[in-house]
Amino acid sequence: MKRKNHRFFFAGRCERYIEEINTNKRGEEMEIIVCLKQVPDTTNVEVDEKTGVLKREGTRTKMNPFDLYALEWGLRLKEQVGGRVRVLSMGPSQAVAVLKEAMSMGADEGYLLSDRAFAGADVLATSYTLAQGIKKMGSYDVILCGKQTTDGDTAQVGPAVAEWLKIPHISQVRDIVPMNDCFRVEADYGEFIQICEIQMPCLLTIEKDSCVPRLPSYLLRKASQNREVTYWNLSDLLPKKNEKAFFGLDGSATQVERIFPPPKKEEQKIFRGTSTEISFEFVRQLQRLKLVENDEGFTYE
């Protein structure tokens, strides 16, 4: 019990006691899958109000920053108990870059689900496609996902994948201790914190800042440069006959009806003056808004 309290107050700490690691040694190797997404490097997008066209600067992409924490936990689990880390992504063929990056950080194998038929997918279709890919990848003990992405920002695809695979999941995990046949995890629900044991196989989405992701290594990058990534397209992921498939736009339940720029407020005022004038105007406005009680004896200069 004492140790548990300690863990609570030092939540998210990555340091492990040696004996803890030893007791966690499993007989078999752990199969770890980490889901990654390639996202635009910037969220700096605007809509041209007249034409409705998206104005997007640059074409640079990067690995979803939240996924780095999931990958780091995957690599740490592998180092603690042995096993292998396989990384999975879905996207256009350029998304192979994030898989290569993960390999240069220590991931063993990369899988990319890429097909034009996967485009335009919402939560339902995205999670379905990923789940089909995971099923094809074979057995696994744990799937790790970032808590959310910086472009979609839904935080929903991870739990949705778990439902397709019918495995338990815990969201916003900030600490993982591997036990014999389960993980002891600490999940941050905003207002409260739960410490749970979850049996394998399971899916965990990882809270940001729950660890410090390692940097890619030059040696690993060189070593993984020629390693092949497995590409799967629509025909590889088709379900058994008689089963309904949910790929891409056609498999999506939601539709974007229209997009528009966020509303601007009317009647703005900009006040310029010396700092003293500004201070007095500020207080006057507070009084006008009845946020400070009005006092007749108070005079402005």
Binding site: S171, I198, T254, V256, I259, L291
Partner: protein, 398 residues
């Protein structure tokens, strides 16, 4: 498969079309022939150039549900640690507002343990019916039993709309329910509207809040949305009669879970941003952590809560519970004073609910002045201490 195709492939000014695609999905060869590559995400923006050029080929999907059989709006009442989350009442009030014109019912779903004592609360909010799943098994949030309870509810009631708060718990639960029901889910909505044909129009910020997207769910029922906290208004009602209360037996609810909760602890209370009438938000205009002292002085004389923009939180100046913005919290104070905040869209996404925004920034071109109701162009290091001393002398005079 649905996709966008290029019809007349040779065009003048090919580069114009290439540039117009936000996903670099349109390519042109040297002769001006356009084609679409696998980057296409079917955003349909190119369709505005007309059907002569781009057209959308759609597979008409078969509707797998019976729209007419679904009615009413269901709201998940989030219960943890002996309390119903205030977010739930925001949803109930919004649901009532949408349901009223169509004579639909608002049904609450409450999942938890020892829930008898909450009956009083039901009468304060405009609910028609509450369905209760009450069992010691459901004391702590565990994903499988909670999902099973909601699925049981959906199968019994066939709601047209199901709303869940976009809290960490709601964002964990909602996708599982949506996938199990093979329906759509829109995350983190900031606006909801019910149309006469029963379609729920869900508005949410996309691309980091730079764009608002209106989303509908033509393909599945219930239409599910998680709703951002503090966007909808909750209002108690007086003289409301007690809603019909129905207990569902646990027979239908999965009791086995592969998750064991060892402990569940409330985080220590902090003065809450969401309930503050006045919030002072500081950004990178504050140079050093020591300078926060003058902000705290001002906050004290205004009884305000201090919030921070993301760079300061990332620098470790304050707990992330006090971060506002897209990756932090949305707030709805009566007055928001921003000091040294440039007003990047990620930040402004979190302050849309503020009634009145006063911005102090030394840069007259800072985007914060586009959203502020009142802007002061000046040096906060000079202004803030002066305002504090004015307010203090004023307080003393009284």
């Amino acid at each position: 498969m649905s996709r966008i195709t290029v019809k007349k492939s040779k065009v003048e000014h090919a580069q114009f079309y290439v540039d117009s695609c936000p996903f670099q999905a349109i390519t042109a060869d040297s002769e001006g022939y356009l084609s679409i590559n696998d980057q296409c995400r079917i955003c349909k923006l190119c369709l505005k150039f007309g059907p002569d050029l781009f057209s959308f080929e759609e597979d008409i999907p078969v509707n797998t549900f019976h729209q007419t059989q679904t009615k009413d709006i269901a709201v998940f009442l989030e219960w943890q640690h002996e309390k119903i989350h205030p977010m739930s009442w925001e949803l109930v009030c919004k649901a009532r507002e949408m349901a009223e014109p169509f004579q639909q019912k608002v049904i609450g779903i409450l999942v938890g343990a020892s829930l008898e004592k909450h009956k009083e609360e039901f009468s304060e909010y405009p609910l028609d019916e509450v369905v209760i799943y009450d069992s010691p098994v459901l004391k702590y949030f565990r994903i499988e039993p909670y999902t099973a309870a909601i699925i049981d509810f959906i199968e019994e009631y066939h709601p047209n709309v199901l709303l869940i708060g976009a809290t960490p718990l709601g964002r964990s639960l909602a996708p599982r329910v949506a996938i199990a029901s093979k329906t759509g889910l829109t995350a983190d909505c900031t606006g909801l509207e019910l149309r006469g044909n029963g379609a729920l129009i869900q508005t949410r910020p996309a691309f980091g809040g730079n764009i608002m997207a209106q989303i509908k769910t033509p393909m599945g029922r219930p239409q599910m949305a998680t709703v951002r906290p503090h966007v909808m208004n909750s209002k108690k009602v007086v003289n409301c009669c007690l809603p019909k209360i129905k207990h569902r037996s646990l027979e239908y609810v999965l009791q086995n879970s592969r998750i064991k909760v060892l402990e569940s602890t409330l985080k220590p209370p902090a003065q809450d941003l969401s309930e503050a009438d006045i919030v002072i938000a500081v950004g990178r205009g504050i140079k050093r952590p020591e300078d926060l002292r003058m902000i705290q002085d001002l906050a004290q004389s205004l009884s305000a809560v201090v919030a921070y923009s993301r760079p300061l939180i990332e620098a470790g100046w304050a707990d992330s519970r006090f971060q506002i913005g897209l990756s932090g919290r949305s707030i709805q104070p009566k007055l928001l004073v921003t000091i040294g905040v440039s007003g990047a869209v990620q930040f402004s996404a979190g302050i849309q609910g503020a009634d009145y925004i006063v911005a102090i920034n030394s840069d007259p071109d800072a985007p914060i002045f586009n959203i502020a109701d009142l802007g002061f162009v000046g040096d906060c290091y000079e202004i803030v201490p002066r305002v504090s001393s004015l307010l203090q002398s004023f307080n003393k005079e009284r």
